[in-house]
């Protein structure tokens, strides 16, 4: 149900000046989960003033368009403050396909793994 308790949905680690974020949920689906994940991601930019964010998708096996919307908004927020967003380790083919189908592969900076992504900043 949407009234589930709020919990930490991201693992956040600083690597140099890059904020490295791993999702703790393998299935980012429930509307309430997505709202929480979105708020926690936006807070990194709005409250913690992070400007370089790398999202690791290695645990993510499923996501929906609502989550894609959060990523698009996060990307715009970062662009608005001269920041940069990168994505890495989209290891599940079904997840990568969603980025291709929606055209978002052209919008996001997507890298094979975290080393390659970190070097891009």
């Amino acid at each position: 149900m949407s009234s589930q308790p709020r919990r930490r949905r991201l693992e956040v680690e600083d690597i140099g000046d890059v904020t490295y974020v791993k999702f703790t949920d393998s299935k980012i689906l429930d509307e309430a989960n997505i709202q929480q994940i979105g708020e926690q991601l936006y807070s990194l930019v709005d409250d913690a003033s992070r400007r370089k964010i790398l999202l690791d998708f290695s645990k993510v096996e499923y996501l929906s368009s609502a989550f894609l919307g959060k990523l698009v908004t996060l990307n715009k927020k970062l662009q608005g403050v001269q920041g940069r967003l990168a994505l890495c380790n989209i290891t599940h083919k079904d997840i990568f396909d969603i980025f291709v189908i929606t055209g978002l592969k052209r919008v996001f900076n997507i890298y094979q793994d975290e080393q390659e992504a970190l070097q891009s900043f």
Partner: protein, 178 residues
């Protein structure tokens, strides 16, 4: 809230004929001409609470898993189902919990059919902008419909746009894959 569920598992007569005809069309790559004429079992009635989406997904996927359909089919149905249910609850019923969403589905000859109805004002799917166009790529929403169309063989909006009927031919051995 528990969803009411009365769906009979078997059909007969004219309905079965329509389903066979529809499957034949899909198998031959034609439009599923009879999709809007299908007779569905009794509805599962849900409040407009997106927390219910997972319950429906689990129920539907359990039925498909019992038929040993491919992982690709399970992923496709799950995603299309979520997009359609969230659309119905959020955009159709505006998350008004006094308004219901009705879901009905069946599986016949390895094809999954589902109908989802909301109580909203409906919409014209032709008015939804293509989210893959350059000017729309950075919009925060508008991708649900295209994902439904991608992952299902056929998606048809009926009535004033508040009813969606979709189907996907599933594969048990990889012989058919969209």
């Amino acid at each position: 809230m528990e969803a009411a569920w009365f769906a009979p598992r078997r059909m007969g007569g004219a309905c079965a004929w329509i389903v066979r005809r529809c499957n034949t069309c899909i198998a031959h790559g034609e439009a599923a001409v009879a999709l809007e004429k299908l007779v569905f079992p009794a509805d599962m009635v849900l409040p407009s609470d997106t927390g219910m989406v997972q319950d429906v997904q689990q129920r539907v996927l359990a039925d498909l898993e019992a038929l040993q359909v491919s992982e690709r089919d399970l992923f496709s149905v799950k995603l299309a189902l979520e997009e359609a249910l969230v659309n119905a609850m959020k955009h159709g019923n505006q998350l008004d919990r006094s308004k219901n969403v009705r879901v009905s589905y069946f599986i016949q000859d390895d094809t999954f059919y589902i109908r989802i109805m909301d109580e909203g004002e409906g919409f014209d799917p032709d008015d939804v902008p293509d989210p893959t166009l350059e000017e729309n790529l950075e919009r925060a929403c508008g991708r649900g419909l295209m994902l439904m169309r991608h992952y299902m063989n056929e998606v048809r909006f009926l009535d004033r746009g508040n009813i969606v009927v979709m189907c996907r031919k599933c594969s048990r051995n990889g012989t058919y894959e969209k």
